[in-house]
């Protein structure tokens, strides 16, 4: 039995270029210019898949982006892409496509048993059955249901294709290249405006591509030729505008998958463009609606306009007879064109009367018309055998294809992305844009303007207005082809089927939602369109209800006895059509997922045994190979080096800020809680900053280089935040202060020389500098010249040992680092990494990013005494608010592990000895290390009441590993409480 056949001539296919693709493992032939869908029909493959829930046989329904049924998995292995609409895929040599949701095949599908069990799958089935009395039932059933009611399966292999993203700008963006879009683009282009024309189809022309009128075709070609000749116009095919956003930002995705088999290495499969347009013309057309009747989902039942497209554009037509069910005049365009292609046609028109003009034109071509009639039922299981009509002419007609002409839904999606709700238009029997932003315009079918000459006029007008709104005054409009007759529409909408038999009548083919499901939803109280959607899953498939939404909400309005505008629509959101994740990710994948920051010493670490760890965006040297192969043992060795000899660490990631100006001291005195006004030149001071709310923002050090120049360091984590904060205060609130701030974080490098032999090592490196305790005491600083370069020495310590930081312009970092290691080799100096650096400071009880969790006060951290009593500083007032004074606040404590055979973990929850181990506890461990000084695990933590509990035993619980350990609360200063080492 043949249903569809390739016509011997005609169409836009290139018969000189045969193409061979693979479909379900077999060869599928066609021509250049075919889509996968047209090639399937040309090969008479009408049953192409099974439906989502019931596994009913399904065929291609549409010819465009709205296709609900014909979804396939393309590609193989790593290039697998599921759920692609066959109507949007160019048939190219080497294309591989597979059916989905059927096993073992679409023709013989074992899952079709679901169809017999169909009462189970009515709306709300999941909720009613599986969320029922036994809580575990969903868990049990879910995997089976997912397998049975699935779409295609994505691959979990890495995507080998490349995706790209670019930014672009233009004066006028025209979306859609149908008659209105072509007229708009050309009229705007003739004004000199930079125009971008985006067309989702593989060719320009929109509905003109589906016609067979030579004059219209000549007009289309003339328009496209002129556009291509204008240097200020860029026109893109296969490019879908997926969303419109604030500030006239349009997101365009160009699909170049058809080039895939020939793609050169590195060529993008998809290109996402973030386009900013001064003005936008939407000429997005309209999508035909199906009619709802018994068994309207049989393969061979299609949108009427799709039949016309397949016949005229792809030269694929029904073999024996087509019956078209209609409620408007546009059905006759289809009937006439099919008749021209030699297909016998019968039209069952719901309307009681058809115009004399149509009757005479149809009669001349032998088209039978049954007014006042509609489809009662479709017979045939895997295809159409015959239809039975109901109404005035209750006859049975043998046929192989049924066309549904249920009226047109303007594509208003983009016009409502900005939040403007579409409005219902009675004459259109559909929703049209509810309005436009000032620089947005609409034209053609998307406005409900269906005739060719009317659409061209409206398009030309919109193009001129858009050009003018973008600042381009003079243009010449484009006119419609001379003999363009405006088709009449004259729709009489039919929502509830008038004559339908008892078979399943589908509203949403893709989500398998029937008219009965909509009724059930109404009866059970899910009456808002948003609830209807979620309860029945209507419109929630990959097609987002492009063919089903209007029918569904009109039915719901009828059941509720309200008008369609009262029922309203669901919200349209980007993306307009499905797109692959790769297109969104672009090149931001793998190592490029986020930016990487590298220390100026990075290359040295990499060449000299540094093992790296990610710290925020930074790659930091974690430990070095000289100290061992595993971090657990290496950091202990590096700690010992610093405690007993001397080590060199890269601290370049610290925030570094140059602060200059006559009011710089006053400025620092305001932002730090402790006094900086009287900091002498040549001295460094530790300081803490608060936010306005009295909570600690950051700690760091600031050195006074000269009277009016200071050098601040911040924590690595807060460097950006502190810089912005200082700029905020200076620019917005304290303009009276004459101060400039500049970030030197990337411009300068820092290295710490730490350990009892630090002075000896530094003296060997800088033999001419006076580094005596008198010349450079603890918390002193000085700039020296070394080899013609300024080197900044700051005597301060994070580790608790005698230590210096050496700062230098980043370009000199590696040579200075190497010089220190070489000159001081006799001291045994070696590099130490981040793990040792962080562990040494735990022993010393210095707080760092892990403790500064944006919830603690100065007192929580034991730093309350630092704050100046007399001076004013940011956060002073709110520091003393009631909540910050609570005695049971989580405060800094030192912790020692009491059970030597156990391990301590950061993040462990702290409980009092008598507590039940449950819930959030009384605090948590912030930092843990093995202490080389105490030979045990120690930690810093935040605990309810803090050091008031010094000496008490508490419990650390780590529920993820079911571990508990006893700890003792001690002072956080585990070593050298008097600071003798610092002052050595």
């Amino acid at each position: 039995m043949t249903t569809f056949r390739r016509l011997p001539k005609g169409g836009r296919i290139d018969r000189a270029k045969p193409v061979s693709a693979r479909f379900d493992g077999k060869s599928l032939g066609g021509f250049a210019g075919d889509t996968l869908a047209s090639a399937l029909l040309a090969n008479d493959k009408v049953l192409v898949g099974r439906s989502f829930k019931y596994h009913r046989p399904r065929g291609i329904v549409a010819a465009g982006i709205e296709e609900p049924n014909g979804l396939f998995t393309l590609g193989e292995g790593a290039t697998t892409e599921p759920n692609v609409a066959a109507t949007m895929v160019d048939l190219v040599e080497g294309l591989v496509a597979k059916t989905q949701n059927a096993w073992p095949s679409a023709d013989f599908d074992l899952m079709a048993v679901n169809s017999i069990l169909s009462p189970l799958f009515q709306s709300g089935f999941y909720y009613k059955t599986l969320m029922g009395p036994s809580k575990g039932s969903w868990m049990f059933y879910e995997p089976f249901i997912r397998k049975a009611a699935g779409l295609g399966k994505a691959t979990d292999l890495p995507d080998p294709d490349r995706y790209d993203m670019r930014f672009a700008f233009c004066d006028v963006l025209v979306i859609g290249s149908g008659p209105a879009g072509l007229a708009a683009a050309l009229t705007a282009g003739r004004s000199g405006a930079r125009v971008v024309l985006a067309e989702q189809d593989s060719d320009f022309g929109g509905s003109l591509l589906s016609g067979n009128d030579a004059e219209h075709e000549a007009w289309r070609i003339a328009c496209v030729e002129e556009l291509k000749g204008l240097s200020n116009v860029e026109a893109f095919t296969r490019t879908t505008v997926q969303g419109l956003y604030d500030g006239n930002l349009a997101v365009l995705v160009e699909n170049r998958s058809h080039l895939r088999p020939d793609a050169k290495k590195g060529e993008a499969r998809m290109l996402l463009t973030q386009l900013r347009a001064k003005a936008i013309v939407m000429a997005t057309g309209a999508i035909e609606r199906p009619l709802v009747f018994s068994n309207n989902d049989r393969p061979g039942v299609m949108l009427a306009s799709a039949l016309r497209t397949y016949a005229n554009r792809y030269a694929v037509a029904p073999d024996k007879r087509a019956v078209i069910a209609a409620n408007n005049d546009t059905a006759y365009q289809v009937a006439l064109d099919l008749a021209d292609a030699g297909v016998p046609v019968t039209v069952a028109d719901h309307r009681a009367a058809v115009s004399a003009d149509i009757l005479s034109r149809a009669g001349a071509k032998g088209i039978a018309i049954f007014p006042g009639s509609g489809i009662f039922d479709v017979e045939g299981s895997k295809g159409v055998k015959r239809v039975k009509l109901g109404g005035t002419h209750a006859v049975t007609i043998e046929c192989d294809v049924v066309g549904m002409a249920g009226g047109w839904s303007p594509v208003v999606h983009l016009s409502s992305h900005g939040g403007i709700k579409p409005k219902y238009d009675e004459a259109v029997a559909g929703f049209v844009p509810g309005g436009f932003a000032p620089s947005h315009f609409g034209a053609g079918a998307m406005m409900g303007t269906f005739g060719l000459s009317a659409a061209v006029a409206e398009g030309a007008n919109a193009g001129a207005s858009a050009a003018s709104s973008a600042g381009f005054g003079k243009t010449r409009p484009i006119y419609a082809p001379e003999h363009a007759t405006d088709r009449t529409y004259a729709i009489l909408p039919t929502w509830t089927p008038a004559y339908s038999a008892k078979g399943k009548a589908f509203v949403d083919f893709q989500s398998d939602v029937t008219i009965k499901d909509v009724k059930t939803a109404h009866q059970e109280g899910y009456r808002s369109v948003e609830h209807l959607k979620r309860y029945t899953t209507l419109g929630m498939g990959t097609d987002q209800g492009k063919t089903s939404n209007i029918n569904a909400l009109a039915l719901m309005a009828e059941y509720r006895g309200i008008t369609i505008p009262e029922a309203g629509t669901t919200t349209f959101r980007p993306p307009y059509a499905p797109l692959t994740m790769g297109a969104i990710a672009g090149r931001t994948v793998g190592a490029h997922f986020r930016p990487v920051r590298l220390s100026p010493l990075n290359d040295w670490h990499a060449k000299n045994g540094g093992i790296f760890i990610d710290a925020g965006l930074w790659k930091r040297a974690w430990y070095y190979a000289w100290a061992g192969n595993s971090p657990e043992t290496a950091y202990v060795k590096e700690m010992e080096l610093v405690r007993r000899g001397v080590g060199l660490a890269d601290v370049s990631t610290l925030g570094k800020i140059d602060i200059q100006g006559p009011d710089a001291a006053e400025f620092l005195n305001r932002v730090y809680v402790n006094g900086f006004a009287k900091l002498p030149v040549g001295k460094v001071r530790y300081g803490v900053m608060l936010n306005d709310d009295g909570i600690v923002l950051d700690d760091g050090t600031t050195a006074r280089i000269t009277e009016n120049q200071f050098y601040m360091t911040t924590t690595t984590a807060q460097a950006g935040e502190v810089m912005s904060w200082l700029e905020y205060l200076l620019q917005m609130h304290w303009p009276e202060l004459n101060v400039q701030v500049a970030s030197l974080t990337d411009e300068w490098a820092g290295m710490a020389v730490s350990g009892p032999k630090a002075r000896e090592a530094l003296q060997l490196a800088f033999p001419e500098a006076d580094l005596s305790d008198a010349a450079l005491p603890y918390m002193g600083c000085k700039d020296i010249r070394f080899d013609g370069v300024t080197v900044r020495l700051l005597r301060m310590s994070f580790s608790g040992e005698l230590a210096y930081e050496v700062h230098v312009a980043a370009d000199y970092a590696i040579s200075l680092w190497e010089h220190i290691l070489k000159a001081a080799a006799s001291t045994g100096i070696k590099p130490y990494g981040l793990e040792a650096l962080a562990s040494l400071r735990i022993e010393k009880g210095h707080v760092a990013g892990l403790e500064l969790d944006h919830r603690n006060t100065l007192d929580d951290l034991g730093l309350g005494k630092m704050a100046g009593k007399e001076k004013d500083y940011v956060g002073k007032a709110l520091r003393f608010r009631e909540d910050c004074q609570r005695p049971e606040r989580w405060s800094l404590v030192g912790l020692e592990l009491m059970e030597p055979d156990k391990k301590l973990r950061g993040g462990s929850i702290l409980f009092a000895a008598t507590d039940e181990i449950k819930g959030h506890g009384r605090g948590y461990i912030t930092s843990v290390t093995w202490s080389t000084e105490l030979n045990k695990f120690i930690a810093l933590g935040l605990f309810d009441g803090g050091l008031k509990h010094e000496g008490e035993e508490i419990i650390a619980a780590f529920p993820l590993k079911n571990e508990q350990a006893r700890l003792k609360i001690v002072s956080p200063h585990f070593i050298d409480k008097e600071g003798a080492r610092l002052h050595a």
Binding site: Y245, G720, Y728, L878
Partner: protein
Amino acid sequence: MMLPCPHCGDRDVSEFRYGGDASKERPAHGTGDLQTWNDYVFLFENPKGPHTEYWQHVLGCRRWFKLARNTATNEIGGVVS
């Protein structure tokens, strides 16, 4: 959304950081009154409609400025001095 940096001109919002409500006057430095600071730091109108906000061109010239923006429509009213 494009924001008008007073120094660089119109730039994409992704170059900026949001800095909070700018419709209130920050208490003068040294103001000791707890209530004044409490109201300034914690109490906001959060209007749907016209609003004044702080923004910083943080990935550009680092200029801070006050901006009039409609929070319901994202219509930009311009830089407020």
